[in-house]
């Protein structure tokens, strides 16, 4: 009697072939993107999304073509912060044009499609058992988005990942070895501990971990024009990956993020200068040419 591997194909359902075709279309769609960078942490609330947006802004200011895919489908924040909550999805010849911010950063965020008063829902044949299929479905959705939108010729596509060390690794598996990871922590042992777990998990796979950024490393007091401590934290991190920089917290920047308005004077602030340094470190680690793509 024949065994499973003696039979070519699956008799017509083509499930495996369709999944393989989906992956091929994703690869083709991202062929013009020079670098895929996933910004993750494992820990929630450390400022991944804020850092992603403002790093993208710093890179865009250097003339690079940058886009963000907000991969946090259940808690999307890029639409609000980047000011694309009312984005219009325009059909191109075969794909959807990627909405962009006023400074030319392409942004896809579920927050442009689903109001904040609503949660992301999927049709389901099985009720009350979402823990068995939800992650698979969310990754299928990520694949659909990667195939559906025109990413075009980009220097960087940045993925703003959801929290969860295990999720970070799932994204590494899904996005493949082309994707490099930038991890975000804050000066707290709790956060560093979670990020260390992400580092340990990612180190078992082929993806490159570019380093980490310590966010909220103090807060910028506009009255004193000085950066003051925010966390009382012993010593430095032992994450054993390069530190690409430290970025202080700026309440004014946070306020602008809430309204989706860019902070015009950001480059002149300590936060802006810190982001500039991180952007340069990121470019150095990716070995991106000094000359941006024309």
């Amino acid at each position: 009697m024949k065994g499973y591997h003696d039979i070519v194909g699956d008799g017509g359902s083509r499930v495996l072939e369709q999944v393989a075709e989906q992956r091929t279309r994703i690869t083709d769609g991202l062929a013009g993107v020079r670098h895929l960078v996933a910004v993750g942490s494992g820990k929630g609330g450390v400022g991944k999304s804020t850092l992603t947006l403002h790093l993208a802004g710093a890179l865009r200011a250097r003339g690079l073509r940058v886009a963000i895919l907000d991969a946090d489908f259940n808690g999307p924040s890029q639409a609000r912060m980047a000011g694309v909550q009312g984005a219009l999805f325009v059909p191109g010849s075969h794909k959807v044009a990627l909405p962009r911010t006023t400074n030319g950063i392409g942004v896809f965020s579920m927050g442009s499609m689903i109001p904040e008063s609503e949660s992301l829902e999927f049709e389901s044949a099985s009720h009350g058992e979402s823990h068995t299929w939800r992650a698979t479905r969310e990754f299928a959705l990520l694949g659909e988005i990667l195939r559906a939108f025109e990413w075009g010729a980009l220097d960087l596509l940045m993925f703003d990942l959801p929290p969860g060390a295990e999720r970070t690794v799932q994204y590494a598996d899904f996005l493949g070895p082309r994707t490099s990871f930038l991890l975000v922590t804050i000066p707290s042992e709790v956060a560093r501990g979670v990020v260390a777990r992400s580092v340990a998990a990612l180190s078992k796979g082929p993806n490159r971990v570019l380093g980490y950024v310590e966010n909220m490393s103090g807060y910028y007091c506009r009255d004193c024009n000085a950066v003051k401590p925010l966390f009382i934290s012993p010593g430095s991190s032992n994450l054993e990956i390069p530190c690409l920089g430290t970025v202080p917290f700026d309440p004014e920047l946070a306020r602008h993020c809430d309204t989706g308005m860019p902070l015009a004077e950001l480059p002149a602030t300590p936060v802006g200068r810190a982001l500039e340094k991180v952007a340069q470190q990121l470019l150095d680690s990716l070995e991106i040419d000094k000359e941006p793509r024309q």
Binding site: I7, D10, G11, S13, K95, A125, S126, T132, W133, L141
Partner: protein, 149 residues
Amino acid sequence: MKFLCIPCDSPMKLQTVGPPERGSLSVVYACPECGYEMAMLTNAYETQVVQSLGVRIGPEAAAGTSTATSVGVSGGKCPFSAMIPGTEDVKAGEPTPVRWTSGAEARLANIPEFVRPMARTGIEKFARERGALEVDETILDAARDFFGM
């Protein structure tokens, strides 16, 4: 999953897929040698697992077409189309009907179903704001220049 006709030692071929009923798919396979047919009846969990992959099951899936026997596992609809709320409400609030040329409709049809309702609503609003009551490819290109990368 593969099915083998034991008497013929021959792989069975997918024949039809019945539309989901209470979370169950009816998938009929037949042996090409002896013609024996069998049906695989999935439970809701099995249906959901396949549905979550975003694939379609049916004899015509290879050709990328949709027929009565080649249905999406969620009933022929895009598995993500239900996740965007409020599109019907938005449509109900439209003040003036906007026509779509066949070329513009073709471009809309080319994009994934889960984005389509929002794209249609937004483009029609964009057209109305410019005094146009017809969406053609010129309008689409203008909207793309205005909003897109």
